[in-house]
């Protein structure tokens, strides 16, 4: 019985840990995910699109991948690992065992997944998407530059608060490279610094003062939604003249908005968002949030399948020089949110509640 208890305990701790730490894409909220498969024809090459978690962000990418399959005559399998690195590894190995003709993957921990990426590249065509692993033998990377996207987010902050003021940044976790780059890009743009992807302001060093703007702090929540809201409320309590709050992961801005609403400071504290959570888009429509910097997950999926299908047929000309296909981010404000949301609904064929 003792052994059984120990086993059950260890299993639960592992599952709980993974559930907490690797549950969602850093730039997205959860969605109706889990992955899927489409078969175009028996002769078409079978390619796979592997995400780094289950999230609404990835649902959009899945739609792009499936549309890509129809357009470029490929059978597509989409895999969404729910439990982090181990799950992703298992899924990839199972795909290789099926004789898959190519994998587009968003590596969860590229620095420590070298073995897995080597294993994939030694068996089939490997490309990375959303998050790069430049040290691997991937054939190309499809995605945006997180530092540039961060700078775009910083531009929104400056537009929302042109006269200057104080800014606090809320983010799920800073251990991930894309989160670090996003945050640094945002800070550098707000403070009017030159572009330098190697610069890193340690969040433990306290306030960063510029001429017009001050970055007060960066608070993380480890993907705990309750704690994210607590962090937002504590910041409102601590900084009476707080000018702007930036949420760098998709779930952060809606929770910031909750805190700002409850404090009765909508409009007084500006909110700038990242990604296309429906509640953020709705708040931008209503003028409660200033704007959001969005990625283009549909094209991550679509372009990945296009490249993999061509590679499976032996066409290597689709790989660009430098090995990077940039899918740029966009800034969405009140003036273009309707157009963006309509387009998003068309791509995902999903009704957006509250949208006019």
């Amino acid at each position: 019985m003792k052994n059984l208890s120990l086993f059950a305990f260890l299993a639960a701790v592992s599952l709980t840990f993974y559930g907490c730490t690797n549950s969602s894409d850093p730039g997205s909220t959860g969605g109706a995910g889990g992955g899927g498969e489409s078969t175009i024809s028996a002769d078409a090459p079978k390619v796979a699109y592997v995400t780094n978690g289950i999230a609404s962000f990835w649902d959009i990418a899945e739609k792009g991948a499936m549309d890509g399959g129809k357009e470029f005559d490929a059978n597509v399998i989409v895999k969404m690992p729910a439990n982090g690195v181990e799950d992703q590894k298992r899924m990839c190995q199972d795909l290789l065992a099926q004789g898959i003709k190519g994998i587009a993957i968003s590596p969860i921990d590229p620095d420590n997944q070298g073995d897995l990426l080597d294993e994939i590249s030694s068996h089939t065509n490997l490309i990375t998407q959303d998050s790069d692993a430049p040290a691997s033998k991937r054939l190309c990377y499809i995605g945006m530059d997180n530092y540039t996207a961060g700078r775009m987010c910083g531009k929104l902050v400056k537009e929302a608060m042109p006269e200057g003021g104080s800014v606090i940044i809320l983010v799920g976790r800073l251990a991930q490279e894309n989160a670090k780059l996003r945050r640094q890009g945002t800070i550098d743009e707000i403070l009017g610094r030159s572009e330098d992807r190697t610069r890193y302001d340690d969040p433990n060093d306290g306030e960063i003062k510029g001429e017009k703007y001050t970055i007060l702090d960066t608070r993380t929540d480890g993907f705990d939604f309750g704690k994210c809201k607590d962090n937002a409320q504590d910041a409102i309590a601590k900084y009476e003249d707080l000018g702007c709050m930036v949420g760098l992961f998709a779930y952060n801005p809606p929770l910031i908005l909750e805190a700002v609403r409850e404090a009765g400071k909508v409009g007084k504290i500006k909110i700038v968002s990242f990604d296309e959570d429906e509640r953020s888009l709705e708040a931008i429509q209503k003028g409660e949030m200033y704007g959001t910097t969005v990625q283009d997950p549909y094209n991550y999926g679509y372009k990945s399948v296009e490249i993999l299908a061509a590679l499976a047929r032996g066409d290597k000309s689709v790989i660009p020089e430098g090995g990077v296909i940039n899918i740029p981010a966009r800034n969405i404000r009140k003036d273009n949110v309707d157009e963006f949301w309509t387009e998003l609904k068309r791509l995902t064929a999903k009704e957006a509640p509250g949208c006019c």
Partner: protein, 334 residues
Amino acid sequence: MKKNLGILGLFLVVFIATAFANPDFVNAYNLENLIRRASLYGIIGIGVSLVIITSGIDLSIGSMIGLVGTMLPYLLIEHGASLFTGLLAVVALSASIGLIHGLLITRLKLQPFVVTLCGLLIYRGCARWMTGDSVQGFKGNYDSLRYLAIGKIPLGTLPGIGEFNLPVPFLLMTGLAIVAAIFLNKTIYGRYLLALGRNEQAARYSGINTDRMVVLAYVLCSLVAGFGGILFALDSNSIQPDNFGSFYELYAIAAAVLGGCSLRGGQGSIFGVVIGAAILPLLRNSINLLGMPTTLEFAIIGVVILAGVIVDEVVKRMAAKRRAALAAKQASGS
């Protein structure tokens, strides 16, 4: 009350130190937030203390909160269920889960640790499967229901604090604490729970139906956890099935143990649990307001609680020694 002096002292030290270090800590807005968070944790702490008193444990509370918190908006928003149906469904589910736990523990003689650990996995899985892992929320509806979690009652201007509003969850927690304290200390069933926690065999031989009391404790614990789940969901309004409520069982158990409940059973005070539950949100709030790095958060919480418990234990031992010495003196004098 005397037994809770240690934890109360820890609470006051952290509270006063933070208030001195940052005067914003005692502004009305921050105190309201702190009281609301402490009340929500207090509610689930009270629930689990009823089980701990019987020398049991419930590790499924976090997943229960996740399941109930996910299910309520899922039924109301995704399926258009009426408020009555939605609430009835989650309350019935909570009670049923407690009943199953209790029956498995008393009839099949399974260990509470294993039963509720499996519950932790099962309920999390159910929440994720039911919703397809999609984020749930009330989407701007049910504001009157959300009042239970985010509502505030104006109390006017308080000296040194400003315009103060009492969070509604504090009233709910206080009501629950009073009922739980009366149940535990003034009713025969409460005394049965304490008795069976201290020595189940002796309680059974003295005519108490211990199995029935254990089942009752688990049902009450799950019901309260379900109630907590509803409130946490109404407060957050953004519920991710794969992690909503994760680790809350540990926070609840920590609150109960810090508040004086013995994991061996037979001992516990509701007042202590309420204070114990307030320690965690207080420390988190202090860390934020004092601008300490979030990366150090767990370490600071661990060190402060450990230091508090050590001081409490040392003080208790010194008091016991003094009492023993006094008793020996009196015995030799008589």
